[in-house]
């Protein structure tokens, strides 16, 4: 069953289209990723889905409720971890969570138990009476995820959950996010501009300039690049090149001391090639395509390049626009 449904969603800030006619569905119990450079429209989409922003046109439904017409129902079914922390730093971890429990009308006799449960789940139970301002970035993020789970939402939004975290906390957070659908019966909708992080998703939508340019599982998307790249170094590169071309029909190119070629099933291709070429092989390595290659192929640019250019303009624009209200 599709728990999130988005149809022809458009959001314009004056003449600037932050989201430009996107449609997609997310299946219940899966991890869905929105992947794209900063300013591609990811956060704007989340803000519309969680009822903070109204769309210019289009429809959005969560758990069967219209985000525009039934915001209260939608809010009950979602939990959110925003890009920037939304904890009260002057309260303790426990107080922040209990606040949330009251706000979401968790029954009186369950409040304490649920708060303690999620604190244990994110490994922060020992620190529950410490003020949040003493917490590290990773701890705060974990606490926010915990908070988002207290009211047992059906969808948990994670907007760039690992932004600003060190590599170790990032890895820990992912381990823990992966367990969420199974342990808490929740669907995850996340955004990221880190390609490696999108690998945990069941399905990914690649978004650029407010449009979805590709959608599918990580494996499917990588297939679109054309397969794996095999690098070979031999004693006689010229002769090998000829041979591979003749026997396997691959286009072989040269880069430094290595030859390389693209093939769909690199891992089964290699043994065959070595058997045929014989003794001259010095080294072989296989490179799997990454989502970065997918993005590169689709847009002609690497995802990081955009960060300082167009993306920031949109952000600046949105900020300026907000200030006027």
């Amino acid at each position: 069953m599709a728990i999130i449904k988005v149809e022809h969603l458009v959001k314009k800030f004056d003449n600037l289209s932050a989201v430009n006619n996107i449609s997609f569905e997310v299946e219940e119990g899966t991890i869905f990723g929105f992947l794209g450079p900063n300013g591609a429209g990811k956060t704007t989409t989340i803000n519309i889905l969680c009822t903070l922003l109204s769309p210019t046109s289009g429809w959005t439904f969560i758990a069967g409720h219209d985000c525009m017409k039934e915001p209260a129902e939608v809010r009950k079914s979602i939990g959110i971890v925003f890009q920037d922390t939304t904890l009260d730093k002057d309260l303790t971890a426990y107080e922040n969570l209990i606040f949330h429990a009251y706000l979401y009308n968790v029954p009186k006799n369950e409040r304490q138990e649920r708060v303690c449960d999620v604190l244990k789940f994110v490994d922060l139970f020992d620190r529950k009476d410490d003020l949040v301002k003493k917490f590290s970035g990773g701890m705060k993020r974990r606490l926010e995820v915990a908070r988002g789970l207290i009211h047992r939402p059906r969808v948990l939004f994670l907007d760039e959950p690992t932004l600003g975290l060190d590599p170790q906390s990032r890895a820990n957070l992912w381990e823990f996010i992966k367990e969420l659908p199974g342990k808490h019966h929740v669907t995850i909708f996340m955004t990221t501009h880190y390609m490696e992080e999108a690998e945990v998703c069941d399905r990914i939508a690649i978004i650029d300039n407010g449009k979805i340019i590709a959608m599918g599982s990580p494996a499917e998307l990588k297939m679109t690049v054309g397969g794996d790249i095999v690098y070979i170094r031999t004693t006689d590169n010229v002769k090998t090149k000829e041979e591979i071309k003749r026997l396997f029909g691959f286009d072989v190119s040269e880069k430094g001391e290595e030859l390389y070629l693209t093939c769909v099933m690199g891992d089964t291709c290699i043994p065959e090639m070595i058997r045929t070429i014989g003794e001259g092989v010095l080294s072989v390595r296989l490179q799997r395509p990454t989502l970065n290659d997918v993005f590169l192929k689709l847009t002609g640019k690497a995802i990081r390049e955009e960060e300082a250019s167009e993306g920031d303009n949109v952000k600046e624009y949105v900020r300026a626009h907000r200030r006027r209200h």
Binding site: R75, K76, F99, N105, H325
Partner: protein, 254 residues
């Protein structure tokens, strides 16, 4: 009504208020300075045959000042909440905007009333003899006035996104509201234009109501400026209007 949500919004503000000793000390210190320094100094200047000694005259005004500062500060903490993101946590919750506004207004009410009671407890030191019913009546007025001013503060806070605007609010709203509230001088003695502005100021009526209770039988120039009924009606009326306006402004989506 979402009582759990309203309760927890008030509980949070109260907890933070108790923890921030410096905030408590500074909000108590300001009225004390005005009362005992400005009040004592001006007493020498104002003729004693106006009926009420000046230091006694400004006492209701100082209570009003305590409420004004404390309520507005409490409400514009919403701007802090916006800047540090906590407001988003509240806004995405399944809680009506109206309940959020009521919760915030009650937070300001609780905190301001506590401070006003602390200042009120000083009355014997400036030569007042107040009966228990007078004290209760003043506290009730303080509570209602705190609610009205807190709700007004929320309306203000909805117009600002960052704390940079704080000095603007301080200099162009809070200070004029204080000076044109009948706190320092009777409204009836002001020039026409200032009299008009004072009449548009909700704080004026709160202070006037307290004057009715504290200077019961006074008839001279220092006596209250409006009738008690009008005072009470304005306090209650503005409370309702400000809460509704604040609720509407909160409802707005971009």
């Amino acid at each position: 009504m979402e009582f759990n949500a309203i309760y927890v919004i008030v509980a949070r503000e109260f907890k933070k208020f108790i923890r921030e000793r410096s905030r408590l000390i500074s909000t108590i210190a300001r009225p004390l300075l005005w009362l005992f320094i400005v009040g004592a100094g001006m007493s020498r200047l104002v003729s004693p045959n106006t009926g009420v000694p000046y230091i006694q005259f400004i006492f209701p005004g100082i209570l009003g000042m305590t409420i004004l500062f404390s309520s507005i500060f409490s409400s514009i903490s919403i701007i802090w909440d916006k800047e540090f993101g906590f407001m988003k946590e509240i806004l995405v919750a399944p809680v009506s905007r109206f309940s959020i506004v009521i919760g915030k207004a009650l937070s300001g009410t609780v905190i301001s009333t506590i401070q006003a009671i602390i200042i009120l407890a000083l009355f014997p030191f400036i030569g007042f003899k107040l009966g228990i019913f007078q004290i209760i009546e003043v506290i009730l007025i303080c509570t209602a006035l705190s609610f009205s001013i807190s709700a007004f503060g929320i309306v203000l806070a909805t117009f600002y996104e960052s704390y940079e605007s704080f000095s603007v609010i301080m200099n162009f709203i809070i200070m004029p509201m204080f000076f044109l509230s009948g706190a320092m001088y009777p409204v009836k003695l002001l020039p026409d234009i200032l009299k008009l502005i004072s009449k548009l100021n909700p704080l004026t009526y709160g202070i006037d109501a307290m004057k009715h209770v504290i200077f019961k039988f006074e008839t001279g120039p220092m006596s209250p400026d409006f009738s008690y009924i009008i005072d009470v009606a304005v306090i209650i009326g503005t409370s309702i209007i400000f809460v509704i306006v604040a609720g509407k402004l909160f409802e707005r989506k971009k």
